[in-house]
Symmetry: C2
Subunit: 334 residues, 2 copies
Amino acid sequence: MAETNRTARLSSRPTGMLQRDNFEIASEELPEPGDGEFRVRISHISLDPAMRGWVNDAKSYVPPVGIGEVMRAIAVGTVEASRNSKFADGDTVTGLFGVQEYAVSDGSGVIKVDTSKAPPERWIGGLGMPGMTAYFGLTEIAVPNEGETVVVSAASGAVGSIVGQIARIKGCRAVGIAGGAEKCAYVTDELGFDACVDYKADDLRGQLSAACPDGIDVLFENVGGEIHDTCLSLMNFRGRVAICGMISAYNATEPVPGPYNYRSILVNRLNVRGFIVFDFISQYPQAAKQLGEWHGAGKLKIREDVREGGIDAFPDVLNLLYTSGNFGKLVLKV
Amino acid sequence: MAETNRTARLSSRPTGMLQRDNFEIASEELPEPGDGEFRVRISHISLDPAMRGWVNDAKSYVPPVGIGEVMRAIAVGTVEASRNSKFADGDTVTGLFGVQEYAVSDGSGVIKVDTSKAPPERWIGGLGMPGMTAYFGLTEIAVPNEGETVVVSAASGAVGSIVGQIARIKGCRAVGIAGGAEKCAYVTDELGFDACVDYKADDLRGQLSAACPDGIDVLFENVGGEIHDTCLSLMNFRGRVAICGMISAYNATEPVPGPYNYRSILVNRLNVRGFIVFDFISQYPQAAKQLGEWHGAGKLKIREDVREGGIDAFPDVLNLLYTSGNFGKLVLKV
């Protein structure tokens, strides 16, 4: 058999930013499905902030990727060589297929998607896990009331862009935080947020304060660090904070202090909750249906940042997430 | 009239620890009640950690004490010269009477107490606001389930001592944190906690880890700082954190970083909530009744640390709270 499977296996654990030599990228034999299994020819790999945490040898919400294992990743691709009656050759599917060109699966956690409604890469982005993360974090954890002000960091990103749009659908004032004038203009002009604050410009607190004349009722946090801290200082009485991610700290090599405004939790009687999308597995179908409806009705604008280069371009492309180098949901084309 | 009223009025705002010269302590004319009012001859003044915050000119849950005003304080005393039909001369009452010997009141927020059931100073301690703070924080905010591990800091203090005892009543493992062997022995031997960790001894994390073999499900925080941070690192999945106070930071003159283990909120999907007892005003009668029943049944051990010296001894006595100099609920005898 001439075809091979290009794979990225974790070869060592990084300190700080991921390096190319933390991975062994090689061509392996094409995997053959056994009974009840099928092969997926991967077209796009989702690059997500959480991936940095998955390669740490530390307690987290999923076990770390083991040395020698294919790097964990959500991906989308086409079924072939199926020996599973539930998946036919030609089906487009998403799942935890890893950073490689081909994966073999028994169908666990695999979802069929409809490419007539959205292109494949969107099913691992705004209509996939990032979209559902936004949906559950906002509607189940933060629970904004109509007329409240919702602030979301990384507002032009995969999750943040959906958070603000859902906040608008729910009748809230949506305020984004993003890096640079171009991203901010996208957030307000394309996504329809009420305001967007540029954290790369001066006086973050003054900008935020002006963008939130009635204070912040709900904070959906993707970034952490100074941005989070500043938001905490503007929270209203009985505000809610959904902690979805803290990308600013994922590559830290020294301990990172918590927010200096931590005491705002006490003074303002905040409710601060952490969550991840996997907590809501039983409600995925409901969320997917709702997101699909909003998307179909033109109420959810979604932008992917699709990068070329295949398996060999990982981890350089992944690192764009931690340097704000992407614009929209970051996807690696295989 | 020969009698006078000794008062402590705020004369300047402190930086760091309170100083004697932040207050003007003087003898004033005895106040006379008007129609519908009565005078209270104060016997004991409650000294509480929150008092340090009340003299800062900063947004908090109550307005700051103004310059020239009598220092705010909860106190207990005896009604005299009553011109209010609801309060008779000789009644023992608690209320926000301030740091002074006599107060005039129209009865707003004043509660009559039964000194046949407990001495006056207990009604501003374990059976008063601190007891209710413990009650609401544990039963309404943290909500431990039977068999869970509850950790409380400042465990020998007015609030912490009650928290652990209620946790035991609710069928939980109660673990205290206190300063020094004597306080720790009191917490386990007298109050009946399952364990108590000495934060002044070495290896706080190792001690806590040993005292909580199944991790921490509920953290009731009175202290903040390093103690809080260490506890966050041992929280279980879906743990709850009730933020009641952060006494370690109240005298800070520089910004205080939040917990380095802040990310535990995300990884362990914690629910962190701030509260103060005033949030539960409508439920005070229910809490007072329950605390009184437990106390009457011998299930709540309460210890006061009553200091002599009268009004002139304030603020020196108050500062004992911030140097761990008290042992039990700190009360100033008038």
